[in-house]
């Protein structure tokens, strides 16, 4: 579904991604690991169309469409979802209003009628249960006054509402205690289907105990330098990234 070829991207003239290749097929879970500053979050931003970053070279297709030509909102409507590392607060905008606007925009894109208030609230109730989200949170303004864990859970809740074809989880485990981590991971697992896929960006192997990846990629210096199965994550946890850095340098 997703094909990234030789992707290069800059921020303020500094090259962060330096020829990244990645293929994701339906039903797969890909973990992307790597040291700080390797370009993990940049990848998430570029895929979702954050204009702080400039793509200088390369191709990205999503179900055959040139993703880089689409606006951020159309990428979302095409089914790409980003669970933000730092979800922003939007004061005064209720979660209900926000989610209803978003969901109806997705439906409009697919030439579907907007949901009635009753149907919308029913779906919202179902999904809240799925991610074990507190009723009270849904009645508050978007992320306003949410704790770190509540914000992350709210991201998974939104993902459940929008049912993306490709979910990108950007360091969803950061700032979560073990219970919250389990709840978030459960949510992600429950949403897994043969026709959707996930890219899980993480620093630590911990999250991958709950969300089991089909592939683990090591991102270093703007490129994917190593790919393996879930055991690669364990190896990284054990040995750190230095041996990979060494391998890369030897190859140059």
């Amino acid at each position: 579904m997703l094909e990234i070829k030789n992707l290069h991207a800059n921020i303020n003239g500094k090259e962060i991604l330096k020829g990244l290749d990645l293929v994701v097929r339906p039903g797969e879970i890909h973990a992307i690991m790597g040291p700080n500053g390797a370009g993990k979050s940049t990848l998430a931003s570029v895929l979702t169309g954050n204009q702080t970053f400039e793509v200088t070279k390369g191709e990205v297709t999503f179900y055959g469409k040139n993703l880089l030509e689409l606006t951020p909102e159309d990428r979302s409507r095409e089914g790409i979802f980003l669970s933000f590392q730092y979800p922003v607060e939007i004061p005064g905008v209720s979660m209900v209003n926000f989610m209803r606007t978003a969901l109806n925009e997705h439906r409009k894109y697919k030439n579907m009628e907007p949901l009635s208030a009753t149907d919308f609230l029913r779906i919202m109730r179902e999904k809240k249960t799925l991610v074990e989200m507190d009723n009270k949170l849904a009645n508050r303004s978007v992320n306003e006054g949410f704790s770190g864990g509540e914000k992350k859970r709210n991201e998974i809740f939104q993902m459940a509402m929008l049912e993306p074809r490709l979910a990108i989880l950007d360091e969803t485990d950061s700032g979560l205690d073990i219970d919250a981590l389990r709840i978030v991971a459960n949510g992600v697992n429950k949403l897994k289907r043969p026709d959707n896929a996930s890219i899980v960006i993480t620093h630590y192997q911990r999250l991958l105990e709950y969300i089991v990846p089909d592939f683990v990629h090591v991102l270093y210096d703007g490129r994917i330098v190593k790919t393996g199965g879930k055991e690669l994550a364990l190896e990284l946890e054990d040995k750190g990234y230095d041996w990979i850095k060494k391998e890369v340098e030897e190859n140059i």
């Binding site: 979702t48 606006t71 979302s76 005064g92």
Partner: protein
């Protein structure tokens, strides 16, 4: 990214720019004692009203236009303005007699003048240019003893009330624009709620300026007698015009013992084009007096239109334990300028006032909050809380805050909070990532920011106001 995007989404055009072909009856341009006499004669006014106008006119000649506001006002030639215009036809007795063109205009504005109006429970005293065209629900209101009519009718049928209260809150010498209004006012609305009556519906007036070079000088007087309650809505849109148009209205509110008056405005006059050409000058004097004990006056305003706004809905808290509120959202986009706020004058004991002002600036807009909180020596144990927030969209607009406080006793508490924030790119991207376009995202964020004020509006008005905020700040994308 976003300066461009913000720039783009704030370039929305004014969506209510159309004019109707109704023949209007216009007095030749210019102002003189003869013109004042002519206006009074056209309206068949009694001698005392003419005397009042002339007194004001003579005083006005001695006055100068105020220059203290943070506004750049082009020179206004008061001799090039027509001071009176009325639809030519005689006042209709029923809807069938109303000019179909006029009905169509109201239709376009979404004003429910016929059946829909009855369903929504609003009585509309529709003001087209200067003369009231139609007043509805008058009968059912009159059964309760409520008087809701045009100002001219009040002069004719209720001269005692008019003479007693007119100019009792805003004296004819008050300020340049108010004095001008006293001399040449054309018409407006009059409301009297008798003792112990709770007005069962929202009273509403729609204003519309619709004649070339016509000054609009409305006058509204609301009297709420003891233990009464009324909620009054004022909403306006104006057709697109090249010439600048002057609007200098007066609103006076009198609240007697235990009375409550809620006055809500949605103002959407033509703001001028993207380059700052044209647009309405809105120089309005609005003031209420909490005359009796425990009385309460609440002002809510959503100001999205006009090229220049100069407006300070104020309250005199005379009665002990009386209270006043001021809730405001003011938007300036393109080259719009607004200097708006309130005055709270505490005179009675245990009086309290609450000010919540939300300014939104976009494009090259300049938005100023100006407020005075004055606690008199006798106003023991009085309280005020003021909060003034400013939101900036883009980097070429401005937000300014001018709070004045005078506290003359040591038992009172006055608090002031102010914040300035810029609309956040991360917030917009977050919305984009959920499938919401930048245009809708700005609408959502701005409405969220203004929510506390919008919540003060009656339901139907709140929906209209939300749309208006979105329309004002968006339009060209998508």
């Amino acid at each position: 990214m976003s300066t461009d995007i913000l720039h783009e989404v704030t370039q929305g055009d004014y969506k209510y720019g159309f004019t109707t072909d109704i023949e209007t009856d216009i007095i030749p341009i210019g102002l003189s004692e003869d013109v004042v006499r002519l206006i009074s004669a056209k309206k068949n006014e009694p001698e005392w009203m003419l005397e009042f106008r002339l007194k004001a006119y003579r005083h006005w000649l001695t006055m100068k236009m105020p220059e203290w506001a943070h506004l750049d006002i082009p020179k206004i030639d008061y001799q090039s303005i027509a001071y009176y215009a009325a639809p030519r036809k005689n006042a209709p007795q029923s809807l069938d007699e109303v000019d179909p063109e006029l009905l169509k205009t109201f239709e376009k504005l979404g004003i429910p003048l016929h059946e829909r109006m009855a369903l929504s429970g609003i009585a509309v005293d529709a003001v087209m240019d200067s003369v009231s065209v139609k007043t509805t629900f008058k009968e059912s209101l009159s059964e309760l003893g409520i008087i809701f009519c045009s100002f001219s009718e009040a002069v004719e049928h209720h001269p005692d009330l008019v003479q007693k209260y007119m100019s009792s809150v805003v004296p004819y010498t008050d300020n340049f624009f108010a004095t001008l209004n006293c001399a040449v006012f054309s018409d407006g609305s009059f409301v009297y709620i008798p003792k112990g009556v709770r007005c069962p519906m929202e009273l509403s007036t729609y204003f519309r300026i619709n004649a070339m070079n016509t000054g609009q000088f409305e006058r509204t007087l609301i009297i709420a007698d003891e233990d009464s309650y009324v909620s009054y809505l004022e909403g306006c849109t104006a057709p697109m015009r090249d010439e600048n148009q002057l609007h200098a209205a007066i609103v006076e509110i009198v609240a007697m013992k235990n009375a409550q008056v809620k006055y809500s405005t949605v103002q959407n006059w033509y703001p001028g084009d993207k380059n700052g050409k044209g647009g309405i000058y809105n120089f309005v004097t609005k003031r209420g007096i909490c005359k009796g004990e425990n009385s309460k006056i609440s002002w809510t305003q959503v100001e999205t239109g006009s090229a220049i706004t100069w407006k300070y809905p104020s309250c005199i808290l005379l009665g002990d334990n009386s209270s006043a509120e001021f809730y405001s959202v003011a938007v300036t986009n393109h080259h719009q300028q607004a200097d708006t706020g309130t005055k709270m004058l505490h005179i009675g004991k245990n009086t309290s006032s609450h000010i919540l002002s939300k300014g939104i600036s976009a494009g090259f807009g300049q938005n100023s909050y100006r407020g005075l909180v004055k606690i008199n020596p006798a106003a023991e144990n009085s309280r005020n809380f003021s909060q003034c927030d400013s939101l900036l969209l883009g980097d070429k607009c401005g937000a300014h805050t001018f709070p004045y406080m005078e506290v003359n006793n040591d038992t009172s508490i006055v608090e002031h909070e102010a914040t300035t924030s810029k609309i956040n790119e991360d917030q917009i991207f977050y919305c984009n990532q959920r499938g919401i376009s930048t245009e809708d995202a700005v609408g959502l964020i701005v409405n969220g920011y203004a929510k506390e004020v919008l919540n003060q509006l009656p339901m139907e008005f709140a929906v209209e106001a939300q749309k208006l905020l979105q329309i004002t700040l968006e339009g060209s994308v998508g």
